[in-house]
Amino acid sequence: MAAPDIVMYEEEFNQIKTVISKLRIDANAKVVFLVDKNGQQIAAQGEIENLDTTSLASLTAGNVAATDGLARLIGEKEFSILFHEGERDNIHISIVAQRVILVVIFDERSSLGLVRLRVKKASGELNDVFARIMSKVERERAAAGAAFESPFAEITDDDIDSLFSE
């Protein structure tokens, strides 16, 4: 496998939620959410009731991937911040811990300057959390060594078949 799977534990998940909900309040934003670079949503906070967060996550990752491609074409490593300005709402996208995308949606109640400032602070905190997650995953794998038992080792063919039994 190319990269280790992302595994999210309860403790870090709660820390992430705390950081992004604080960011939402500090930045006066409507929505803050985190997506991994493959398009999987990690966490979301704010006015998300009427928002299709799954599609948002996938399109954000596509957007970042395409922009990364553009960056490399002109000899840049990446564009670390993307900003989309709309008539009412704006989207601020930045990369955290090299592998996670932080998205902030805000309107006229906030400003680009404020969002950038608060995102910078939150990014530092999120970096720490993700570093902890990665070292935890590695530690657990190393501790288990060759005997690493997948929590899904007990999935049977019947379990899988039953998923499709409509």
Binding site: N38, F152, E154, I160, F164
Partner: protein, 195 residues
């Protein structure tokens, strides 16, 4: 790269439909979208040109149900099949858990099929994957057309590693769910090995 969330007890997997232009990747997704219970699916997103050719990708999130207490979510993506969209194709393979290769059964598309599989192998490698190791299914689409190659001929030409081969007519739904189920099974079986 499966994303396992212990906090919300979810497994998220990414499946990519690959294949030459006009082989029916989007048609597969459209059929799945049309026939799936509304509670189990999200919106089908198509980033397509004005003539409905896939420009970047199609995306369909599916929720299949629960395995051992974990909700299983599958994110289905297609790539643009046309040769010159290679940069986009490469991006979409990022973090893939399983690949479905949709081959066009018409005789005149055999070269395009071979070329596309070679391209898949190269692009997987660029993302650090090996076609020989990844969950993979070969779908032979458009079996209802008059000018098609036989299954044996196609298997001989396109099969790379003894992967399951499914005959399909995506526009009528034949073989569509069978293909998806096949790859989902391989992906979940992979999970039981690697965690």
């Amino acid at each position: 790269m499966t994303f396992i969330n212990y906090a919300s007890r979810e497994i998220n997997c990414k499946i990519v439909y690959y294949g030459p232009g006009l082989c029916g990747k989007t048609t597969n997704l459209q059929w799945i979208y049309d026939k799936t219970n509304p509670n189990a699916k999200g919106k089908l997103i198509s980033l397509a040109t004005e003539t409905d050719r896939t420009l970047f990708f199609d995306f369909l999130p599916l929720e299949l149900g629960t395995v051992r207490g974990f909700k299983t979510r599958f994110h289905l993506y297609t790539v643009p099949g046309q040769v010159f969209y290679d940069a986009s194709r490469k991006l979409i393979l990022k973090g893939v858990d399983g690949v479905i290769f949709v081959a066009d059964s018409q005789n005149e598309r055999m070269d395009a099929n071979s070329e596309s599989i070679d391209n898949l192998q190269i692009n997987l490698k660029a993302q650090g994957y090996d076609l020989m190791a990844i969950p993979y299914i070969l779908q032979l689409n458009k079996r209802d057309l008059p000018n098609v190659a036989t299954v044996d001929e196609m298997a001989k030409l396109l099969r790379r590693k003894g992967e399951p081969v499914v005959e399909a007519v995506a526009s009528k739904g034949t073989g569509v769910f069978e293909t998806l189920k096949g790859v989902a099974k391989l992906v979940l079986q992979e999970l039981t090995k690697t965690g």
